[in-house]
């Protein structure tokens, strides 16, 4: 018979890796009840917390890598436990101490990021190739805005449209913006959540130095993940620049009357809140304001929207890992969008874009359901 006994050394490892908040957990199970994984498979967040409290955790378990860091549990935890910090601590313990195995897909992305500064393993000098024909200037001291599109729209041929649409809008409005040189690297948000703290630190330092030496004051980002780490994590490491998500920036341009949308898009559009824009940073209204400014567009809502919005499944490094068919949150979302009679799923995050695009294709819905970033819709309506 297996008899458990508390293993204090393991608890200490987790606490040292940043798992301090787990001490507060009183095992009510609300996190499990809220966690989106339990819509598709069992994932007992509470049990992981308890196992971690007692040091009875299985570091080899795939559970360590399951959390998508969507913050739904943290948002409602009655003890205010930063559950994501605990999950990150478990991953740090594995990644840095070798007491378990980092999943292959994650290891490859981590290696790419550490090696060439982007998870796709693409050449750094090609970072700005997406903008070749768009006449976007390089950021120079005095340029008003730095546009930082995220690695995925910079390299992924299918996702480039996010960056290209944004640049098109900025060009039309004659906004004083530029791209930073190809020395820029991945923001590091997700690889940090995946437990690779050293990699994150070096990425952040690289980007902070680069931005600071170029005199960057304002960065507009397409990815809520870049937004989150620039806004909430980089300042602790000495950054001083302001960060704005494209949806916020577009909303302010509309408000100031600088951006006028005249072309009609006569479609039913359903907006999916990205976790890192919504729950992590409480940006809910601006993306909706932008969509509602498009003539003819009918904005509809998912059954669980805003604070309750369902994750696409791509946070916390999961974007690089394979999620088997039947367990993909974005599939559930696409079904919900179909049931609601939507024509277009509007997004504001490159990771969401990847996941929803895959879902629509794999579910055979590409004919009837479009997946578009808000920037694309705005570029069409301008």
């Amino acid at each position: 018979m297996d008899v458990l006994s508390p293993y204090k050394e393991a608890t200490d490892v987790i606490l040292e890796a940043g798992g301090e908040p787990l001490k507060l957990c009183y095992q009510c199970g609300l996190c499990t009840g809220i966690c989106p994984w339990n819509l598709v498979r069992s994932f007992l967040v509470r049990r992981i917390m308890h196992a971690a409290q007692l040091g009875a955790i299985d570091f080899g378990s795939e559970d360590i890598w399951t959390c998508v860091t969507c913050r739904a549990c943290v948002q409602r935890c009655p003890r205010g436990v930063e559950i994501i910090d605990v999950m990150r601590a478990l991953r740090r313990a594995v990644a840095s101490m070798g007491i378990g195995v980092v999943p292959d897909a994650l290891r490859i992305s981590a290696k790419n990021i550490a090696g060439v500064g982007n998870p796709l393993g693409e050449a750094p000098e090609k970072r700005n190739d997406w903008a070749k024909d768009l006449k976007v200037k390089n950021f120079a001291s005095g340029t008003e805005i730095l546009y930082f599109p995220c690695c995925v729209p910079s390299y992924d041929p299918d996702v480039k449209t996010i960056a290209r649409s944004t640049a098109t809008i900025f060009n039309k409005l004659k906004i004083d913006y530029g791209l930073i040189g190809t020395e820029a690297k991945c923001c590091g948000e997700s690889i940090r959540k995946a437990g690779h703290e050293d990699t994150f630190q070096s990425l952040a330092q690289n980007n902070i130095n680069l931005f600071t030496s170029n005199g960057v004051k304002t960065v507009v980002v397409s990815s809520p993940h870049c937004y989150h780490t620039f806004k909430n994590e980089y300042p602790e490491l000495g950054s001083k620049f302001e960060v704005i998500h494209t949806t916020q920036y577009l909303a302010s341009l509309i408000e100031q009357g600088k951006l006028k949308l005249s072309k009609e898009i006569n479609k039913k559009v359903i907006y999916s809140d990205p976790c890192y824009l919504g729950r992590h940073n409480s940006v809910y209204d601006e993306p909706r304001k932008v969509l509602q400014s498009i003539p003819g567009l009918e904005l509809i809502e998912f059954p669980d929207a805003r604070e309750e919005g369902l994750c696409c499944g791509g946070g916390g490094g999961r974007i690089w890992m394979d999620t088997p068919k039947g367990e993909r949150f974005s599939d559930i979302r696409v079904e919900q969008a179909v049931a609601k009679g939507a024509d277009i799923i509007a997004l504001a995050c490159p990771y969401c874009f990847l996941n929803y695009r895959d879902s629509v294709l794999s579910m055979g819905k590409a004919e009837t359901m479009q997946v578009k970033d808000i920037a694309e819709l705005v570029a069409e309506a301008i």
């Binding site: 095992q27 009510c28 199970g29 609300l30 009840g33 809220i34 339990n38 007992l44 009655p78 003890r79």
Partner: protein
Amino acid sequence: MEEIKTGVYICHCGLNIAGTVNVEEVARYAGTLPNVVVARDYRYMCSDPGQALIKDDIKNLGLNRVVVASCSPRMHEPTFRRACQDAGLNPYLFEHANIREHCSWVHDDRQIATEKAKDLVRAAVRRVFYNEPLEIKERPLNPNVLVVGGGIAGIQAALDIANGEHRVYLVEKEPAIGGHMAQLDRTFPTLDCSECILTPKMTEVGQHPFITLLAYSEVEEVAGSVGNFKVRVKKKARYVDEEKCTGCGVCEEKCPWKVDSEYEVGMGKRGVVYVPFAQAIPHVATIDKERCVYFLKGKCRACEKFCDAKAIDFEQKDEIVELEVGSIILTTGYDVFDSRRIPQYGYGRYDNVLTGLEFERMTCAAGPTGGKVLLKDGRQPESVAIIHCVGSRDENYHEYCSRVCCMYALKYAHLIKENTQAEVYQMYIDMRCFGEGFEEFYRRVCDEGVNFIRGKVAKVTDVALTEGEQGKLAVIAEDTLLGGIIRVPVDMVILCPALEARFGAEDVAKLFTINRRADGFFMERHVKLDPVATATEGVYIAGCCEGPKDIPDTVAQASAAAAKALSVISRGRVVIEPTTAQVNEVLCQACGRCEEICDFHAPKVISKDGLRVSSVDAALCKGCGACAVVCPTGAMSVRHSTREQINGMVEALLEV
């Protein structure tokens, strides 16, 4: 001037101080300070032998100043002052240095802590040099008591005092007394009917020769201090003559307008002119002016036509009643947490999601369903889930445990089992059944076949995933004992919302100059040793205004508060602290800034022998020193915190 002879006593407080501070060294150091004739250290200065050291030294060495360096003055300053007084020394010639809370408890480094203790002792020795003997005066007091809030706490406190034949003014803001207890059906764990045990007490209040009931009234202003409070009460116009009204109810019957009844928590209707409930005390009608069509549109007056007693009086005005009382008991109760704040539980969205109070009305024989447990469509439920900790034990709402929910949830389960064939599911986090007969009741309810699921509910939804969930509400949680998500399909969900501080508690606290805790409830003077007193002498608190509690605890607290008030009355006089502000009339320019700054209306600029000067009413002054700070000429000072005394301390602290 007489020679100053100071005795200094350093307390070990067991190891509390001696564990971190080298007390012998501090005592040796104290002995070297100017005017110190004796310095000792002792294990427990507050003990009898400790106090005897002081007394003997005063007598044998002719000490005229005493310093004790020990704990916070809060507990033992009175002890040492008394010791001085016993030995014939004016108690204000004693000074207390706090080397425990301010030193040993907050430092680890023995050497540094010892140095700090020396500094604190040096400052106290310097201060005591400047201390002056002060005279403690007494004055007579008013034996009347004001009780604010007519729930079970206020009723109990009022009766305890009135039965001692002292006048009680019981002020209730609603049209009738009874509070939340009047709305409850049966009470745990004995299941006696709430109404049956409360009504006799309410009637007794209504008829008691020593109780003046001021229902539908609110306190507007409070001045004065213990023994002599002056209180202004607004008696709101009922538009019904209380003397004439017989409470027959014809007006309500004839009133063509019906609105949601507060008493029935919206599950029943009442007239715009109404008697809140059958056993209401006072048993008179009230016109709800905000919603009365006559007041809104100038037409109707149906009630007036049908009132045989000619009690309806549309011309009635609010009335101000001035009261003089010696002590005040606040029993202002609680509010129920608004369950809509947790939208995931569906309250307000799904018909059959109820709050506890709504369920209380439902099971009450005189309630809107005649005591039957019914769904909105009139069917009996086949399954009911009871969700615990709705807004309690949750940092997003209230961190505290509301203390009564586990037990009333068990009571609901029992009542459902008694009234229906339904399956009952308790969705709990921890069962807290700590009172008399509570655990036994828990056992009894288990025996009745109630299901217990340990897990905080994540969501209540009407989206069915299985056939069994069709037409039902699915309650979703992790069953933390099984380790898996559980979906419980039920017909009815009963929420157990937190008890929270009353809306407006902040204003009440300000009105009576008492403090509130971070959770919003009124703060007791000492959480363990003085649980019904407040920071303001003569103002006491009882019941749920102090924090969530059940009826037995509320009644016990109410009686405790009554005992406090009775002890003030029985003493017959109040001590006037001499540490009040004083005016140097030569320096005073009568600018009036002291009058402006004072929250207690103590200083007033008056004419004295043809000259305008400020004068302080010692009975009102709390000695806070605000006036002394704003006084531009230095005319105002506070006894026992004079400039010399404070500056002396500061100078001593700055010397190394």
